[in-house]
Symmetry: C2
Subunit: 299 residues, 2 copies
Amino acid sequence: MIDRLVIVGLGLIGGSLARALKERNAVGEVIGTGRREASLIRGQELGVIDRWTLDLGEAVKDADVVVIAAPTLAAEKVLESLKPHMRPDLIVTDVASVKGSLVTAAERIFGEVPAQFVPGHPIAGSEQSGVEASTGDLYVDHRVILTPLPTTRTDALETIRAMWQATGAEVVDMDVAEHDVVLAATSHLPHVLAYGLVDALAQSGSAQAIFRFAAGDFRDFTRIASGDPVMWHDIVRANRGAVLDSLDTFTEHLAEMRRAIESDDSEAILATFERAKAARDKHFLTQYQVKGKPQGATD
Amino acid sequence: MIDRLVIVGLGLIGGSLARALKERNAVGEVIGTGRREASLIRGQELGVIDRWTLDLGEAVKDADVVVIAAPTLAAEKVLESLKPHMRPDLIVTDVASVKGSLVTAAERIFGEVPAQFVPGHPIAGSEQSGVEASTGDLYVDHRVILTPLPTTRTDALETIRAMWQATGAEVVDMDVAEHDVVLAATSHLPHVLAYGLVDALAQSGSAQAIFRFAAGDFRDFTRIASGDPVMWHDIVRANRGAVLDSLDTFTEHLAEMRRAIESDDSEAILATFERAKAARDKHFLTQYQVKGKPQGATD
């Protein structure tokens, strides 16, 4: 039970966290803050937060936990604004998609990463955004990754773990670097590929015909290229090293496939396709069909 | 109105065509043939076909139209089997995903492409397959591409056009080569990329973690890597030239994106993402939301 929780940046992610904790009586008072006054007003109208202020210092005074519910680069700025208001008994966490860059930023801002800061990343989301789209069950059966450092205080880690568990999420601890490698492969690289493919086709001579005859497969494959370009640009920049590594691994693999196709190496083409299908079916059909519920992604 | 129609290979595509024509009284008798007796028996039980035979010659005797409803390489074999039974008044069409290779095969088999052969490709499909999954509205508001040659007989072309129009589809004529270029870009290349990405990740050291934390975005992006490996291997081989061209265009584009990410060229990254989002939103939000119905792909 958290007595007083502050959400900085009230959108889908922060709003859904507040709703989930309120519905499960896992929080006393929820205070909203951030730069978008309209979201805060709406959040209070909807009962997602109890009160709000545009003043971060006022918001965190007497608070127990602050959740920085802002995208990757914005989260760094919030950490800076939070610096004058930090207290040992104020536990801080975030939801940004890249952890290494934020940990580095925290080190730069505070001299060392504060022991009460628990970097986190809920792997959940929705096609929609904004506090209006928030729901109390967004995190049920979803995973939340926490990336504590060796210097992170245990009480801070356990408070944040309990907070996410109260929402129905499965909480997993992971190394900062491993988190960024895994997310580069499963989320950041696919976005680069989807944006890249759509842009390449849009610039080709047959763009009209290509989009006219594109069917469901293409639309699914490129759906993520409808994501917010600014946010994804921030993420790719923040996770540059891991994104480049996974891009290089993929490019090498693609070059091998090109050689197989060019030399009409039937066996090699089929072997690749079969391995891929088997891997995908194995991991996803067993993993997700049990829960019977599709999962979204934060960003 | 087609008096007697033969479907060679009774699955989702052929079965849905038969159902659509029957429901709209656009066909007299539908005869099923092919190698899978079980599908033919089931098709008759379901009322999709009126009768069936395993003997192709018997099936097409007295028929007006034959639809080769088989995948790319199988369609070539059906054309060969059909050779001894060809008559000037027997109109032939197909549904294969690659048109150039089949036209070349027809030329090889018959000496010249028969004037009553109309190559076709319905851009429709479903996650499911088999005659059980067939429905009479699969083609409603979907596109069917016909790729007639200059030597194709007009009466044959118009018969096949009218047949597909009767199912509720929009029929579009296209050049054989253009069809293959467009499908390479929108369907065949995305499959190569999805299979390639999943295979690359499955072989990486972090495979367990990668698939464990992959969220909805990744599942959508790689859904097509659950397609039938043999069928896609056939398609990629049959459309090798166009697939390699589109792969090379994409690879060049990706190399540019890599340079932008490596040199932290914020402007270039953002410009690519923004162009891609704009192109995708422009083409898909206007094109499909009017009809309000998602479209699938043949294969």
